[in-house]
């Protein structure tokens, strides 16, 4: 068995008296691709943000690549962050920079590439999401789906060890969804990237996941392959994965 790249133990996080993460323990092996499902507001984004140190959990440990994220100094955390990319749910493109500058920003701030290398990498990343012709555009000139794909290009351009995708295909049409999901799969295979993806999209999950978990009320409710989840007898899962029409008890 490959060593764990991510080990999360007993993670708790509340906002005021609202418990969001309520004792999560999770391991992701190197090269493994985990998909997280869960209803809106169950804390999927919060979990991802805790992993990169954007939010501090109330209790528990997160060890990534042998380093305890919660107790690292900012300097050490930044070293670790250079090997991680994060695709934000809302893409979080820098409004004041063009698409090209958005991609160059992460690259030039993190490593010493020559101008030529940077241009090559930008072209590669934009080509991967089929948006090479949007290089000079400003984010405000892009559609929602295009923003998402640029966000994706920005996440993969550094070719990191670990990528966290927060809903990579939400808002994309079915064809683009498949293309993007395949792109994520290809990256995983070519670069041996480890990934954790939050999604509501079964097509996407089917393409990219090695393993799936479902969050419910701050805990991991189930774990397994897509088939396991879809064939589960649990009424919540039946409801969630659409094998049954909406009925009561659907939280």
């Amino acid at each position: 068995m490959a060593p764990s790249l991510i080990s999360i133990t007993d993670l708790y996080k509340s906002f005021g008296d609202q418990k969001v993460l309520d004792g999560i323990s999770l391991h992701v092996e190197e090269g493994e691709n985990l998909v997280i499902f869960g209803r809106s507001g169950t804390g999927k984004s919060v979990l991802l943000k805790c992993m990169v140190g954007l939010m501090k959990p109330d209790k528990g440990t997160i060890v990534i690549d042998g380093k305890d994220v919660v107790s690292l100094s900012l300097k050490e955390l930044n070293v670790l962050r250079k090997s991680i990319s994060f695709l934000f749910q809302g893409a979080a493109l820098y409004d004041s920079m063009s698409v090209k500058e958005n991609l160059a920003f992460t690259l030039s701030k993190n490593s010493k590439f020559t101008k030529g290398e940077i241009i090559k990498k930008i072209d590669w990343a934009l080509d991967s999401v089929s948006l090479l012709d949007s290089k000079e555009k400003m984010p405000s000139e892009l559609s929602g789906g295009m923003r998402k794909r640029i966000g994706l290009a920005r996440a993969i351009i550094t070719q990191p060890k670990l990528i966290l995708y927060d809903e990579p295909t939400t808002g994309l049409d079915p064809i683009t969804t498949k293309e993007i999901s395949k792109l994520i799969r290809d990256l995983q295979q070519q670069l041996h990237t480890t990934s954790v993806s939050v999604t509501h999209d079964l097509i996407c999950a089917q393409i990219i996941s090695d393993r799936n978990i479902v969050l419910k009320k701050g805990k991991i409710a189930v774990e397994g392959s897509i088939e396991d989840l879809m064939n589960a007898q649990d009424p919540f899962l039946k409801n969630f994965f659409g094998s049954e029409i909406i009925e009561h008890g659907d939280d």
Partner: protein, 261 residues
Amino acid sequence: MSSKNTYLTRIASYFNEIGALGSFVARFFKRFLFPPYELREVKKHLEELGVKTLPIVGTAGFITGLVLTLQSYPIMTKFGAEGFLPYMVSLSIIRELGPVITALIFAGRVSSGIGAELGSMRVTEQIDAMEVSAVDPFNFLVVTRVIATTIMLPILVVYVDFLAILGGFLGSILVMDTTWTLYINQVIDVVKFSDIIPGIGKNFFFGFIVGIVGSFKGYYADKGTEGVGKASTTSVVVSSLLIIIVDMILVKVTLLLWPPA
């Protein structure tokens, strides 16, 4: 919740806010004292600030000089002191009106802009995105803006003072017999270094206030578009108020250091 209770929480949050602003300022200096600096960003902000504010502060300055002259002329005549008009106008402008009017307009235009800009970056997670890509957003976004406003405002004041004196001259030729050479000689005659230095010097403080308050409000904006609007408007209110308070303190200090002859 009782009304007394809300009142207390309001006072508490007021002092909380002052404390938070204080540590924001401290963080600025901690960051400011150690390189690397994002000089390219500073330069970009300086250019933007210039383009954004030169026309309005120039217009306001010119009109202030003009109106001040027109308003003061009848009073000065009453005391038979109309010959002192250029003295009075230029001193008022250089010591007080130029700096404060420029600073207040700057606060209205720039502090709100910074508040909105950083606020929307906070709300749309752009600041988080920077942090994740191992860039220090405080250094990249806040320090650069504060440096730019602190440098820019004193420069603007020199420009505004000049235009206001020009406005004063226009006012003078409207109401009395004078020439440019005569007028400007009278101004040069009376204006001393000890008027110019504090007049311009205090704008380093005002520029700093505008930059730091706008950044503070934007950097910690609440989620949602409402948060952006709030960051923008409260930046203006807080920075204008602070400018007036700090001006009062600095005038007192200046009078102590350079007592009027």
